[in-house]
C-alpha cells in the first residue's frame, strides 16, 4: 500500500495544460492529452442530462471510447503528472460507469445529488447505530408490520432449530412461501419505481415547477426504501434457509 498527502487542491483550469486550447472535462479536444480532473458529477462526466432512463448500450460504448483515452496503460510512457491524472480520471470514469449502468444505483445516486439521504439499510449502519445508541433510520413499512413480526418469529425458530441440529420441514416450506411472496412484492415495487423514472425524465425535459419534481422525488425515495427493506428480508430468509 502506498500513501500520499495532497498538499493543495488541484485548480480548475479551462485551458489544456499542454497545448492551451479549450479543454474537455477529461482530455483536450485539440491534442487529446489527459487533463487534471475537474469535480463533476457522474452524469456530467458522460455528458448526460440528469435523467433516469439511460441507454445502457450507448453508455457502454462511450465507456469503452473514454477508457481508450484515459486508462493508465495508455500513459505508461508519459510523465509522472499525466500518469497521475490518468489514474484519477480513469478511476472517476470507472466509478461513474459502475454507478450509472445499474438502474437502481443510478436512481440512488441521482437522489443523492438532489440532496436526499436514503435510509441506511446496511448491516454496518445497524451495528453502528446499536453501538452509538442512535436510533437507526429504518422504518418498517406499516403494511408489513404484522407480516414482518411473524416472519421474524419463524426466522428465530429456524435459527434455534439449526443450533440444535434440527430442520423442521414444515417451517422450511413456510419460509419458502414467504420468500416467494416477498420476491413478488419486490418485483412489483421495482416496476412501480420505473414509472416514476419516466415521470422524472419528463419533468426534467420540461423544466417544470420544483414542487412537482419534489413530489416525484419523494415518491421514489419511499419506493427505494421499501424496496431495500424487502431485499434485506429476502436476504435474511435465504441465509436462514441455506447453511
Amino acid at each position: 500500500m502506498t500513501l500520499e498527502i495532497i498538499k493543495t487542491p488541484a485548480e480548475t483550469e479551462h485551458a489544456c495544460w499542454s497545448c492551451g486550447d479549450m479543454r474537455a472535462a477529461q482530455f483536450c479536444g485539440a491534442c487529446g492529452k489527459v487533463q487534471p480532473p475537474v469535480p463533476v458529477d457522474y452524469f456530467s462526466f458522460f455528458g448526460l442530462p440528469r435523467k433516469l432512463n439511460v441507454d445502457v448500450k450507448a453508455l457502454e460504448k462511450e465507456f469503452y471510447v473514454l477508457s481508450r483515452k484515459l486508462h493508465p496503460d495508455v500513459y505508461a510512457q508519459a510523465g509522472e503528472k499525466e500518469q497521475h491524472w490518468s489514474e484519477e480520471q480513469s478511476s472517476r470514469l470507472n466509478d461513474a460507469y459502475r454507478t450509472l449502468k445499474d438502474s437502481i444505483k443510478r436512481t440512488e445516486y441521482l437522489l443523492k445529488l438532489e440532496g436526499v439521504e436514503l435510509e441506511e439499510q446496511s448491516k454496518a449502519a445497524t451495528e453502528q447505530a446499536r453501538a452509538s445508541g442512535v436510533q437507526k433510520k429504518q422504518v418498517v413499512p406499516p403494511a408489513l408490520l404484522e407480516e414482518v413480526f411473524e416472519l421474524n418469529m419463524q426466522l428465530e425458530e429456524m435459527r434455534m432449530g439449526k443450533k440444535m441440529g434440527e430442520r423442521d420441514e414444515r417451517l422450511v416450506k413456510d419460509l419458502e412461501n414467504h420468500k416467494q411472496k416477498l420476491e413478488k412484492d419486490f418485483e412489483a415495487l421495482t416496476d412501480e419505481l420505473k414509472t416514476y423514472w419516466r415521470e422524472w425524465d419528463k419533468l426534467t425535459e420540461e423544466s417544470s415547477d420544483p414542487e412537482q419534481r419534489e413530489q416525484v422525488r419523494d415518491k421514489m425515495v419511499d419506493l427505494l426504501n421499501r424496496r431495500n427493506y424487502y431485499r434485506n428480508l429476502v436476504r435474511d430468509v435465504n441465509q436462514a434457509l441455506e447453511n
Binding site: M1, L3, R68, A76, Q77, N94, D95, A124, Q128, A131
Partner: protein, 633 residues
Amino acid sequence: MAADRIVGIDLGTTNSLVAFMQGETPVVIPGEDGSNLVPSVVALDENNQIIVGNTARKYLIETPERAIYSVKRLMGRGVEDIQEELKLFPFRMADDLDAGEVLRIKLGDKDFTPSEISAFVLRQLKRNAERYFGEPVNKAVITVPAYFNDAQRQATKDAGRIAGLEVLRLVNEPTAASLAYGLDKKQNGVVAVYDLGGGTFDISILKLHDGIFEVIATNGDTHLGGDDIDNLLLTIALDDILGDLKIDLRRNAEAIQALRKAVIDAKIQLSGRPTVVLDLELPGGKRYEREITRPQYEQLIKPILDRTVGPCKQALKDAGLKPGEIDEVVAVGGSTRIPIVRALIQEMFERPPHTDLNPDEVVALGAAVQANILGGGSEATKDMLLLDVTPLSLGIEVAGGVTDKIILRNSTIPASAVQHYTTQVDGQANVAIHVLQGERELAKDCRSLARFDLKGIPPMTAGMPRIEVKFLIDANGILQVTAREQRSGTEAQIEVQPSYGLTDEQVENMILESFDSAEEDFRQRQIIEARNEAETIQTALEKGKKSPTWGLLSNDERKQITKLEKSLTEVKGGEDYQAVRKAIDALNQATTRLAELMMDSAVATALKGKTMDQADMGEGPEAPHPVAKAEFE
C-alpha cells in the same frame, strides 16, 4: 539506445518465465541451459552463493535446509496465517519472528523475506533476458494471481524493485492468458479462464469487445494448486511407509524431498498413462513400491479439485451469467494437464476448454503482450486494452467491529471511494482508520491491510472537522490513500502501519544489502557492454577490410590484425569481461594505422569534391574510425 525494452514475467509458484514480443509474436526467452522454464527454486551452494532454477533443484534433495521452493505461498503473509502451510512445506522460519512482522525464511545461516527470495528468481530471469538481448533490461510487467490481495501484490512489486526491475504493471495471470489467446483470435464474446497452477487457483470471466478485454468477475483461492496434490500424495506415501515398512521418514528432510520428487513424477505420468509404479530406495536399503492406477488417483485428488467449483460458481453469479452464456473456456496452468481437471471444466462450463497454447507458458506470453501495450503498442496490439477488476472488496472498520464496504469486489480498476471523517470529542487531534480487504461482515474475519492515524487535526468542537480521505485502487490492484482536512484548510497528516509488508525504507535497505548480487549484476552488465563494443569494432573492421585501404597495410600488419580479431571472437563468448576488454584494446592498437589511412583517404576524396559518404569508409559519421567506441548507456 532505442526505447527501453520491457519484458513480461510470470513469477510462478513452481516455475517462472520471461517473455517478450518479437515483432508481432510473444516468445519465451530460454535460459542458458536452453530451458524456457526456470524452476522457482533458490538454494545456497557450498560457497554460500545463491543458485536459482534447475541447478538449484539438486540442493532440494542433497541439502534441503539450504534450498527453498514454492515461496510464492508466503508472499504478503504474516506468521499467524501460515501455520497450515508450515505443516505441509519445509519452510524454515527465522527464530526471532514476531507476530505481524514480515516473514523471514532461513537459508543456510542467512535469512530472507519472501520478497527477497522471489527477487533472486526475478534477477535470474532478468539475466536470462539480458544475455538474450545483449543489453540491460530494467523494466518489466509481472503477473500475479488474480485473487492476490493488496499485501501479496505489494510484496511482488517489492520483489521486482529488489531485483533491480521497474515494475510497470502487475497483471492478473488469467487476464494475461486471455491476452495471449486473444492476440490471433480477434473476436467478441464472453470468455472464462480457468487457471490452476502450482500453488494458486483463479477463475476470471471476461467480455471481449473489439480489442477491449473487460474482466467482469474474478474469484479464486491463492492457496490451491498442484502443490496440494503433491502434498496429498506425499502424505499417503509417508503413511504407507510407516505402516508397511515401519520406517518413519517424517523427520527426514532428505528422504521427504526424494519422495516428493517421486510422487511429482508419478503425478505427471498419470496424465498420460493408466497406471504408474512408485519405486524408491529408502534409507537403510529397503524399497518402497506401490502401484497407483488412474481411477485411484482421480478419486484421491477429487476433493482438492472440487475446491475450484465454488469460486467458479461465485464468479458466474457475480457476472450474472449462466454456464451456457460463456462462449469460450480457456485452461491455463500446469495442473490443467490432468485429464480429470479438463473433464471438470467441461462439466462446469458445458464445453471443452481450449488448450492450444502451452499451459505453462501462456501467462508469460500474455505478460509480454501487456508489456508491448505499455511500451506504446505495435501493429498486433494497437487496439488492445485491458480493463481488470479488484478481486476483493475494500472496507473500513466501523463501530462494533463491523466492515463497511466502500469499494465492492469486481469493480473495474482504477477504482476509488471517498470517505469523510470527523471527531467525536472536542479538540480531538487524531482519528484512527482501519482498512480491510475481504467479503466478510466482521472486521476480524477480513484481511487487515493497514491502520492509519490522521494526525494534526486543528482543535475544533467535536464533529466540526471534515477530513476527506480518498481510497484509490490503482491499475495494479494496490491501494493508495490520500487525505485532506477541508474546513480549516490544514493538511491532515497520515501515519500508516501496513499490517503486512515492507516499508519503503526496508525495501531500499534490501536493495543496498544485496551487495553480492549487485556485484554480480555489475559483472553481467560489463560483459554485455564489452560484447557490444567488440561487435561494433568487428563490424567496422569488416568494412575496413573491404576498402582499398586494407591493401595499403603490410602483410604483417594484416596478419596481426586478423590474429587479434580471432582472439577477440574467442573471448567474446566467455564470461570474463576483462579479457574481452583487453582483446578490444589490443585490436584497437593494431588498427590505428588502418584508421588513419582510411581517414586520409576520406579527406583526400573529400578534397576531390566527393563527400564523406561517397568515400568508401563505412557508415560515415557513425563509424568514422573502425575502432570507435560503442555508444552505450
